[in-house]
């Protein structure tokens, strides 16, 4: 089973490029076959040199079978010159911010489409506060990760301020990355 991308139809004439009908159809299909909802997302990350590594993403599992992106995606991660690194890519911590902004913004578009709200522009500014005492092991009371993350939206749309607020709130409610960041997640690291 695949989510059909062909027909982006809307009785309201609103088009944010999201096929809401297909997504809602997928939700209905889940009721009959809950196992199709079991997904696995994957990446391989290989070390290049120094703090530079490269992540490749191509396959995933879902709808009861192996799936594939339309092509392989590659991301370089490194640290900036200020860390005595080569700056071949953004830091892994920044990737987390990128993921959060991407997930919430996709949600804003989907919810807007479903609610018949035409978007003109959406800009999320994502920032995370970090105290380097943590990762440098200089202060055991400081955590490694972000002490807080902020997302600020600027949205131009055919909607009232209250409707736009509701879009952003609903997007948080249904975001995988927001949930992964705000709730504890079991992480298992092994060697094979």
């Amino acid at each position: 089973m695949t989510v059909n991308q062909d027909t982006i139809t809307s009785t309201s004439g609103v088009d944010n490029g999201v096929n809401v009908e297909a997504l809602l159809g997928a939700r209905d299909a889940l009721a009959d076959a809950p196992e199709i909802a079991q997904f696995q997302w994957r990446s391989t990350v290989s070390w290049v040199n120094g703090t530079h590594s490269r992540a490749d993403v191509e396959t995933f599992y879902g709808f009861c079978e192996e799936q594939r992106h339309s092509k392989s995606f590659s991301f370089d991660m490194d640290h900036p010159l200020q860390f005595a690194s080569q700056d071949n890519g953004i830091t892994p911590a920044e990737v987390v911010l990128v993921a959060l902004g991407g997930c919430l913004t996709a949600g804003v578009a989907a919810v807007a489409q479903q609610r018949g709200i035409q978007l003109r522009s959406v800009l999320a500014t994502v920032s995370g506060e970090m105290d380097l005492h943590g990762i440098l092991g200089a202060d055991p009371d400081v955590r490694n990760g972000f002490s807080g993350v902020r997302v600020d939206y600027r949205i131009d749309a055919d909607a009232t301020p209250a409707e736009i607020e509701a879009l952003v709130a609903q997007s948080q409610k249904r975001s995988a990355v927001y949930d992964t960041l705000t709730s504890p997640t079991a992480v298992t690291v092994t060697i094979s």
Binding site: P34, A166, T182
Partner: protein, 416 residues
Amino acid sequence: MRHTSAVVVGAGHCGLAMSRCLAARSVDHVVLERGDVAHSWRTRRWDSLRLLTPNWMTRLPGYAYRGDDPDGYLGAPEVARLLADYAAESAAPVVTGTTVTSTRAEAGGYVVRTDRGSWRTRTVVVATGATAVAAVPARLAQGVPAEVVTVTAADYRNPDRLPPGGVLVVGASASGVQIAEELQRSGRPVTLAVGEHVRVPRTYRGRDILWWMDASGLLDERWDQVPDLLRARNLPSMQLVGSPQRTTLDLNALAALGVRLVGRFAGVRDRTAQFAGSLPGVCTLADLKLGRLLDTLDAWADRAGIAAGPPHRFAPTAPPVPAALSARLGDGGIATIVWATGYRPDLSFLEVDVFDRRGAVVHDGGVTASPGLYVLGLPFLRRRKSTLIDGAAADADELAEHLLGHLDALPRRRAG
């Protein structure tokens, strides 16, 4: 084996309302009750609990509130007394002290077995309530250290029964906010774990919020017309308390009392409770939802020409920034956890194939796919008010009518 046309399981407000509606249609029936009438109101409510609905809303088929405090809120013993009086007044055929152990479909009808004999019946109405069992998230409960005392909202009675020390109340719907307030006032430091919730003021523009919801027709919204029924049926209860002072018990009020607000209880690790970082998000959601409710009520008041105080809005919820993300369990930290994480029905006696894969009964407005088997009193069964006492009358009336139609369509059994 005794015979009847209808067995109603449970003599709470729903079962008694159904009995009244069946009697009005001359359907011979029996109401089986494991304890006394209003059993749960006698045994499964904390001491200070009052109804969330004002007295004038305590309406049942053929009954309206006659007391001198229409705007007050009945306590649990008063509800039990009221229902006992109603059962007597209705001459309801209640068989008390009789626990249903199984219900099976058999020969075009049902066999209902109890600990005191069996009944063969052509129809069954399950009215055992939406709140029979406290729903506790097993994954979280497993991780709680043994020395932490845990109690559900159904088992909680009063602060004196709990040990001294910190309390974590999990869940910020009606039960959670009420218990959190009572425990905080008892001198225990309370942490309240807040997930998605429904914020409403007790009064708005000088009238009870339930007056607004009732008068504007919101509570009469039907299950077959609401856009997302699944969501409507899973909505948490409103943050309300029925106090003589008609106080609003929202998160701001609790924070002002000193209750520590944290995000959803999300995990336990190394004897530490972990809370989600989504508290500002769920507060914003609830504030927006409240704003939409008040917009709807104001628009209706305009159209209907309602005389009430001027429209106004409530201060946004102000969660602590940043909210705590963890709390120590035991060891001078949290000594008690109160699970106010909702309730679910207990239909384990129902051995009929009417359940979905998660064990929830499947029904269309109370009518199951098994002919002659009905359920009553579940969330948004036929209307938004289906779980309120005031919701029983209309639902029971319509289902009694359906039940009568089913009986009429069956081949008549020979008498004797």
